[in-house]
């Protein structure tokens, strides 16, 4: 990080701060989405913006996800950047035509004459009975599509820095925030702080196994590394930060360094980012792999609602550590922390219902 003052902030505050900075920098930047100026302010991420920048630049919209996405394209063509927000990614399926046929392709299909610099914030749900239609993350879909950039921040500094880069990138960027990370605190540089898109972050530099992760799996991987360290196993953890374009150089270096790869994915398994990373590793680095590369993802079914069915649904520090031990032929297995709170909330701060 550069030599600028930092403040401890939650992810959600860092996003708010990033929006504030961006709206100051670009007098035409607009922010809109259902509830953006309501009492809850998108989990707090837009507090004060409507007051500061006015209803012309920060406004609530009808429940019309498809049109609101195409409208962002049109505004961008007229020189007006935007940050749209959807309180759950699950609602954004309504906008797939606009996303794929217009947002992702406008630059290409008109021969590069226009670009569509827009940011779409998609909030990912999990637990507290979010269930099949309030918990989905199809980042792997988005990673499939040329023309899109896809960001999945893990901590507050990255959330702000990636958001500012996304806003001022000439391309459309999907910004996937996990609800469970919203309250995670870290030092955040003030002002126009940017983290480049397309650069992964090396979280830890162990030598035994390379763990590639995104979003809420990065803190799980870090916890797993802690468990494994007690057994002398060193983890090389890569936080992808950007899912597309993916930082293949950093991933390659990690694979070459340890010869062992575990790809984590916060979404469904089949045709996932984890699949892509494992495929890349075996296609490009076959000779350097010391053991079969592995994946750990959510299971191949929707998230059920019941508290009784969601325990162990997603990869956790323990399942990650177990898998690493399997890969290394070590006997250790890790039991869940008996003092952990209920498995379906990110922490005591989460009170439901949404």
């Amino acid at each position: 990080m550069r030599d600028v003052p930092t403040t401890q902030m939650k992810v959600i505050e860092a996003i708010r701060n990033g929006l504030d900075v961006a709206m100051d920098l670009d007098p035409h930047l607009i922010c809109y989405g259902l509830g953006i100026d309501d009492p809850k302010r998108i989990f707090g991420s837009t507090v004060g913006l409507a007051e500061k920048f006015g209803n012309g630049r920060v406004f609530d919209v009808p429940t019309s996800e498809a049109a609101m996405t195409g409208i962002a394209v049109g505004a961008a063509l007229r020189g007006v950047r935007s940050v749209t927000v959807h309180q759950r990614l699950d609602f954004f399926f309504l906008a797939m035509d606009q996303l794929i046929n217009n947002v992702a392709k406008w630059h290409f299909m008109f021969g590069g004459q226009r670009s569509v610099p827009i940011v779409i914030r998609l909030i990912l749900g999990r637990g507290w009975g979010q269930g099949p239609t309030h918990s989905q993350s199809v980042h792997s879909w988005f990673a499939h599509i040329p023309g899109l950039k896809v960001v999945m921040p893990t901590n507050a500094a990255d959330a702000k820095g990636l958001l500012l880069s996304a806003i001022f990138d000439p391309n459309p960027v999907l910004f996937l925030e996990h609800r469970w990370l919203h309250e995670a605190v870290s030092d955040v540089p003030s002002g126009d702080y940017r983290v480049p898109l397309g650069q992964a972050r090396i979280v830890s530099e162990g030598g035994d196994v390379t763990i590639v992760a995104m979003s809420f799996l990065v803190p799980e991987a870090i916890r797993a590394a802690g468990l494994l360290a007690r057994h002398g196993v060193g983890c090389n953890i890569i936080d992808l930060r950007t899912i597309r374009p993916l930082d293949w150089d950093t991933v390659s270096a990690g694979i070459l360094k340890t010869g062992r790869l575990l790809a984590l994915d916060s979404g469904l398994p089949i045709c996932s980012v984890a699949s892509e990373i494992v495929a890349f590793a075996s296609e490009r680095h076959f000779q350097s792999l010391k053991s079969a590369p592995r994946r750990l993802t959510m299971p191949d079914h929707p998230e059920p609602t019941s508290f009784g069915l969601t325990r162990g649904l997603h990869p956790s520090a323990e399942s990650i550590a177990d898998t690493v031990c399997e890969m290394l032929g070590l006997p250790h297995r890790f039991a869940p922390d008996p003092n952990a709170g209920p498995h379906d909330v990110p922490g005591a701060w989460f009170k439901g219902p949404f």
């Binding site: 498809a66 269930g131 299971p299 059920p304």
Partner: protein
């Protein structure tokens, strides 16, 4: 556990509203204990639309609904124990704990499903109507929606198809003037009447007071008859108001997003209070009757909560089931 219901239709309507109100209030009371762990949208204040509509439908008429479906489910005859068990995430839940409050189903009473994506059951309901037509059945498909769902394009597509094929579809729109915290004024143009838009699409439409259960029942009865007689699909708009927060168990008028005088005016027009007033001179109705209902219903609710609370979780080993039939 459902005690003998009154034979008199008016009394039944009032009792059913009271029952739904008491169920919702019990959920609101219990929710903070953290046993019902799912997003939950209560219907307090909006019971008349559900009850009046269901009263005019046959049990076999299929219905679909939205995120705010408890009242629709119960009014249609959906099992209370299984509703609560669903909120508790239990295997005995109406969706086996897979769906939670936003995904209710009771096939025994034609409640075909409610879902959490705004507008997403609209075409499903029209599809039920298409199925009815293809099978040459006499049923009417009832489609509950909110004023917010009108903003989703799929509403227009669904309504258009229903008219083009003249399907037996009945849209029941509960216009409570809000989508979450957003008033209609931010989402639809000033002065627009939702039912006017729908009339232009070619449906038969009307707007009514959604807090008058007798009026609702009468309007829906007429509509259902017209549809069964082969008429156009019908869209009925009912104005009503939600008493509690959009999602969750608490009142939220402290947030100030709704004008105080609106809140007061609508609460003064509480559908249950109003209906009771209308029944004042009804021979079968009295303070004692109400009290008897209250205690019958309270007992039913207690039993249902006890059932839901003690019912077993789904077996975790079945978690991956029901992905494919």
């Amino acid at each position: 556990m459902n005690t003998q219901l009154p034979n008199d239709p008016s009394l039944r309507l009032v009792r059913e509203m009271l029952r739904i109100r008491m169920v919702e209030e019990a959920i609101a009371r219990e929710y903070p204990k953290g046993e019902m762990r799912c997003p939950t949208h209560l219907s307090v204040g909006q019971e008349a639309v559900a009850v009046g509509t269901a009263a005019a439908l046959e049990r076999t008429d299929p219905a679909v609904s939205t995120h705010r479906a408890h009242a629709h489910y119960l009014a249609k005859g959906g099992d209370l124990k299984r509703l609560l068990a669903e909120l508790f995430g239990k295997e005995a839940g109406c969706a086996r704990g897979r769906g939670g409050s936003m995904h209710l189903i009771d096939l025994d009473v034609g409640f075909e499903g409610s879902t959490a994506i705004v507008g997403s059951t609209l075409p499903v309901g029209v599809g039920l109507a298409l199925g009815i037509r293809v099978r040459a059945e006499a049923a009417v498909a009832c489609i509950f929606l909110g004023d917010g769902a009108m903003e989703e394009g799929v509403f227009y597509e669904s309504a258009n198809f229903a008219v083009v094929r003249k399907l037996p579809a009945l849209f029941i729109c509960e216009n409570n003037s809000y989508s979450v915290y957003s008033p209609l004024t931010k989402r639809q143009p000033h002065g627009r009447q939702i039912h006017d838009v729908v009339r232009a699409l070619g449906l038969t439409t009307a707007a009514h007071d959604g807090n008058d259960v007798f009026g609702v029942a009468a309007a829906v009865k007429t509509a259902v008859q017209a549809i069964r007689d082969g008429g156009s699909p019908v869209f009925l708009e009912f104005s009503t108001y939600r008493h509690l927060e959009h999602c969750g168990p608490y009142p939220d008028d402290n947030l100030g997003y709704r004008p105080e005088k609106d809140v007061a005016a609508w609460k003064a027009r509480d559908p249950i209070v109003q209906a009771q007033e209308r029944l004042r001179d009804h021979p079968g109705f009295s303070g004692e009757v109400i009290e008897r209902w209250r205690s019958e219903i309270a007992a039913e609710i207690d039993g249902a909560f006890a059932f839901a609370r003690t019912a077993p979780w789904p077996d975790p080993s079945t978690r991956a089931e029901y992905v494919y039939a």
